[in-house]
Symmetry: D2
Subunit: 440 residues, 4 copies
Amino acid sequence: MKNGVKIVTIGGGSSYTPELVEGFIKRFDSLPVKELWLVDILAGKEKLDIVAGLARRMVKKAGIPMEIHTTLDRREALEGADFVTTQLRVGGLSARIKDERIPLSHGILGQETNGAGGLFKGMRTIPVIIDICKDMEELCPKAWLINFTNPVGMVMEGIVKHTNFRKIIGLCNVPIGMHKAIADLMDRKMEEVEVTFGGLNHMVFATKVVIDGVDVTKEVIKKWADQTVKNIKGIVWEPDFLEALGVLPCSYHRYYYMTKEYLAEAMEKLKEHKVRAEFVKEVEDKLFEIYKDPNLCEKPKLLEERGGAYYSDAACSLIDSIYNDRGDIQVVNTVNYINSDNHKAIQNFEVNEVIEASCKITKDGAVPVEIGELPKAVNGLIQQIKSFEIIGSDAAVSGDKKEALLALMINPLVMSQETAKIVLDELLEAHKDYLPQFFK
Amino acid sequence: MKNGVKIVTIGGGSSYTPELVEGFIKRFDSLPVKELWLVDILAGKEKLDIVAGLARRMVKKAGIPMEIHTTLDRREALEGADFVTTQLRVGGLSARIKDERIPLSHGILGQETNGAGGLFKGMRTIPVIIDICKDMEELCPKAWLINFTNPVGMVMEGIVKHTNFRKIIGLCNVPIGMHKAIADLMDRKMEEVEVTFGGLNHMVFATKVVIDGVDVTKEVIKKWADQTVKNIKGIVWEPDFLEALGVLPCSYHRYYYMTKEYLAEAMEKLKEHKVRAEFVKEVEDKLFEIYKDPNLCEKPKLLEERGGAYYSDAACSLIDSIYNDRGDIQVVNTVNYINSDNHKAIQNFEVNEVIEASCKITKDGAVPVEIGELPKAVNGLIQQIKSFEIIGSDAAVSGDKKEALLALMINPLVMSQETAKIVLDELLEAHKDYLPQFFK
Amino acid sequence: MKNGVKIVTIGGGSSYTPELVEGFIKRFDSLPVKELWLVDILAGKEKLDIVAGLARRMVKKAGIPMEIHTTLDRREALEGADFVTTQLRVGGLSARIKDERIPLSHGILGQETNGAGGLFKGMRTIPVIIDICKDMEELCPKAWLINFTNPVGMVMEGIVKHTNFRKIIGLCNVPIGMHKAIADLMDRKMEEVEVTFGGLNHMVFATKVVIDGVDVTKEVIKKWADQTVKNIKGIVWEPDFLEALGVLPCSYHRYYYMTKEYLAEAMEKLKEHKVRAEFVKEVEDKLFEIYKDPNLCEKPKLLEERGGAYYSDAACSLIDSIYNDRGDIQVVNTVNYINSDNHKAIQNFEVNEVIEASCKITKDGAVPVEIGELPKAVNGLIQQIKSFEIIGSDAAVSGDKKEALLALMINPLVMSQETAKIVLDELLEAHKDYLPQFFK
Amino acid sequence: MKNGVKIVTIGGGSSYTPELVEGFIKRFDSLPVKELWLVDILAGKEKLDIVAGLARRMVKKAGIPMEIHTTLDRREALEGADFVTTQLRVGGLSARIKDERIPLSHGILGQETNGAGGLFKGMRTIPVIIDICKDMEELCPKAWLINFTNPVGMVMEGIVKHTNFRKIIGLCNVPIGMHKAIADLMDRKMEEVEVTFGGLNHMVFATKVVIDGVDVTKEVIKKWADQTVKNIKGIVWEPDFLEALGVLPCSYHRYYYMTKEYLAEAMEKLKEHKVRAEFVKEVEDKLFEIYKDPNLCEKPKLLEERGGAYYSDAACSLIDSIYNDRGDIQVVNTVNYINSDNHKAIQNFEVNEVIEASCKITKDGAVPVEIGELPKAVNGLIQQIKSFEIIGSDAAVSGDKKEALLALMINPLVMSQETAKIVLDELLEAHKDYLPQFFK
């Protein structure tokens, strides 16, 4: 890194990229990115070129010596990289539309981490990420892989359980969003509110909130519930439930605690051709139209509606802390190991299982803080998702249809053997091209 | 016990009692029951007298010196007892009908151990069983309590976590039924087929089957699935799923893996006024008519259709093994502790959590055999039920409505916050008389 | 307890009793002890009468209606008791002298909890305590047993692993002494200094010290070490070691971390006939001479040199908190279970293993506070002592000489197979009368 | 590996190398080693040349196309390697002599894995192995590292806890020696006797012995003890102890269970200048004289007395099984993880702690078989050694003298704070040149 940092972004043609570029520009003084390599596949070449054009205009306007490279040859880019980020989407948004519509058409809820859709996204993605890890071991063994491709938990389990590669950190924008919302609720700035997070990806809890040295967790839980009750539209948490739970759930928890309510809503949207993936696609199409504008040289406002807001900024922040050995706290996905003194961060999980938690970030990566034991009341659900992540990643690697069925059957959103079998067959057929391991 | 064994059966007016009496008569040579005390409450006096009449005729016919006592004063009966069995039903079958109908009317599946119904049965029952334990500590501190009142798992957690009473063993007829079915499938006698069971009550797995010293588990799993496939009526297991699972599930597992299928069936029966509790009530009414017959002096055939077949016989067998220090293997509910060498029977659970497992039975009670680790694929579901049992038993003791809501919300059959709140209110109102802890 | 509290003290003829009596007198307003039964065996009758005489004079002077009863019939005393304390010593101090001298004569260090001596004290004591528990289940099932007979850890494991009796709490004066020493060191009153303790009996650590809401653990550790360094006489802790350890060890830890130093000192004393037991015997003889004085009607000053200072006062304080449901924090021995939310107090031990820790005391007994994970650096030693306690209690119950040898061999102070065999034979022979289980 | 396998042996000038070469020659048909690179440092150049000369004569005689390369430039050798073996000794045998003599001169027992000597060997070695791992990540990311440099357990913990490198397997010849001895005892060939091993390096137990499908563990334990009793010379196991232990200890266990006996013997040898390292040095000097003989073209018989017999052969066998994806069982050191179904091999250890156990060897490395729970009686000792390995490896990486003191203090062979401090200072001084991390 003597002559500046080399970053490789796989899935570089993604609509997220301008936020990433903005993040690197903002931090150039402390994190001098000399080369940013945007890698994509042939099918994504057009988008890649559009995004790279915007990126170059942004850099030029900023007046900094950051080179933007594009390539379809991943290995060319990886050679000597310092950090690699993965924001790829195997099969693109049209695959995600199938992940959501096919299960819903049989009454099963889900998205790209939940339910049947999450399993298929995982099975398409894990073999690709494993290949990237292998290339990195060979071409840039010192580099860190920052993965923000979903399902982050299942992808991380796939790497940890099925490879020897350990320089990987998973990233999600849910905790940062909760942190912001809690600060707003308490009328404070984010940096004044210390929030401890612990759980799994898309199943993370805020376990403790401290302001001015005082533990205000109970107060926050109460306000959180009251606020949602006032918000008459939408699906809100019951205050009694939150109080008894004793920790703050994230938005994705509603899929499991309010399945019926969410399913009803999703069925409405299905009819109107507005499953989440379709909504995202619409926004993306608009974004690329905007990106094309040769006069645009900054991240457009609309990107914040895309759903992944803060995602790329969180990635830049993480890279900056590793590069500068900052030792600050960020919420990421890593294994449940602290050190030889206090070896587990969350007592409910095994030490080699992947958790999403508040971590100290240094040049050696991420180390979780001590969280203790999550309440018995949440233990069942988090173990169920952990089982699903593990069995799902096993199926992704083995290509064994029986294991894929097992993963579906143990998912708490499926709840029907008959539907599981039908949906498995339909999704395997729909994603045939991206699941070669099942068609050997 | 010098002058013969004294047994106390609480809920003695139950239709199960004749099987229990038959069991003691059969075993009189090795297990000389001198006094059998049938205890019930005032509301059950008529049934108690009918059952006692039949019991006395059975004993007389057998020509053995076993005294049948009846009383409405539990403490009178407990004085100096050697074994106590609990087959009581707080609120009777009419309470169970509410447990099933009210949730179903809001689309929630359940029975007396599953879902919302199981929670309410537990909350009505646990305080009563705790009182019985307190009386036993005072009046017959050496006696063993054999509990077959459902929900057995939640009741056992209530005793283990909230009292210091340890002389309790929980009993269920599901494992003995599976054992018999496996033997039939393999064309063998039960005693030729060694089956190891491990899991939770109504969530037990056959983890290993050995015949003539050979491990035939895989073969049994295959046959089990094939057989259910041939059986075109009813809800059957998918062979691929069972093979990937690697252990044999019990019938109650279908509630969780085939929720949709079961719910559809239950909704049909709801309309026809044939929820399980109503069917059981019908059989029971017939049974009591038959029991009244002054010429009847044996257990009538119809009792086998009651659903609890083998239950009472299993209880007699368990008492016999404790009394005679037999050291044989029976499947019961007890804590997950073996001994200081191999301290946990099932690695997935804590050492003080209650499991249902193959146990060695001696004069010191039940000690589980070493089961090892249940597959990761089932870990999520069993932890979810264990969380529910524990939080449910906490709510039963505290009488805190928030904790009861929490228990409902974490149950995998409820899946809706809105429904949870409605069903909680309706069931609390319906069972007001039997839940004084919630109306202080 | 309507008409005042009934206390039974087994081993009532002990020299500790006057402190116990003083404790009850002091607390009479909140803890109205109506009857104090001092129970002993025939061989201890003379001492029992001396102690009872003094006790009666103390009560008379205090002018309170507390009856002092003496009896040699334990069962007579236990009938209807509210609290039972055990301060018995099977074989008396002369047995303890053998426990110390025989191993030392072969170069093995130990006392009544450590090494070979601790094992034999445990094997003599556990069967007696088990008998007391059985009597209590029958005669006073609601009473609590407060055990301060050593080895407290092994005795507790004996009860927890080999009986169903759970109303037992173990007590030791080491933590209260450390608490006092820490307060002195910081120039504060004890009640201003909050110290969290966790570990095993005679192997407890102060894990956290808080003053005025500030965590001062590191400062205390530094001062503790500096102070001991200044104290040129005696065996002192190395500051670097304490800093790296990160928790404050108790005095008994020196047996294991400074075996060589302690052994050298003990060998000197052996020659001078001043092993600890002999020193204690000398003090005791003097104490009984003083107790006889018909004009004495208070606890004499000399008792504080006896070694068990604060022991009896701690017992009174514990009984008072249970009786009045105080919910205060005291350090006692109990199982490692908190509640269903945070189920283990110390992560290093199993949930049903006995720990010594800061506990909340209520009418339902003692529940440990959450300690978290003790440092990896101490895990080896605490597991070794836990293994020794468990195997030792197994041997005490089974009377199997092979298991007793195993317990000796795994004790970290024995370190020689040859010596283990010799010492085992010599101690079995020396204590033959008190170890009937080994001579069946 | 298309054109044959490339092996790199670091510490190639070791006297072990001819056994390694013989092993590769024997297996050439299945494991076609094209290049064997012997790497050493300048100080070892003479030995390296002698060994390489012999190796070339051996290969020539065998008539196979295996190239023997020598180099002092490790990175040159590593480029593109398939397997790397480490048999280096930082500081050579003269450092080992200090490791043994200095502690012994203060009455502390030890060798290169035990006690103070083991700690210093570890602290000299771990930074070097970490550097090798870093080079491998860069130069041969697909290669496996087979480490047989002691202390294997501490070195492995150093890599697992302080790096992200996972392609490492630790090797020891103790299990293979025990396997052979058990087979001899039972008058069988090794391949007829199935022995399951579990524990830590130099602290491994044979937990199960099966012959012709029958579990003969108890019989083997009995014979093992009887045999050692007959063998009047030397230090032998007490049969009662082995029976109560229930598993077969390895020879290194005697250091802990018979410390006194071993220490006496070692003190004798110390006086005669025959500590183990000195004996080894004598044999080595003779070996190199023999190796020089230009007519010698095979491994001389004397090498078998060297102490590491079977070590190199075990390494060849391990490499062969990985290369050919054999799936056979070998005993190696790896992390305690099996798979998502049965995730821990030995329940006593955490899933990411390094164990020595029977493992299945495939192209993906080593996966332990399911061992279950080691007896409570051995839990204390194995946890103590595991703590020592972990704290020792922490000190090796941090270069913090306080942590090194902590490691010494918790080692069961040190037992004296005073001695610990003296020995620490003397050994730091003695090994100054090889411990730069402590002298920054």
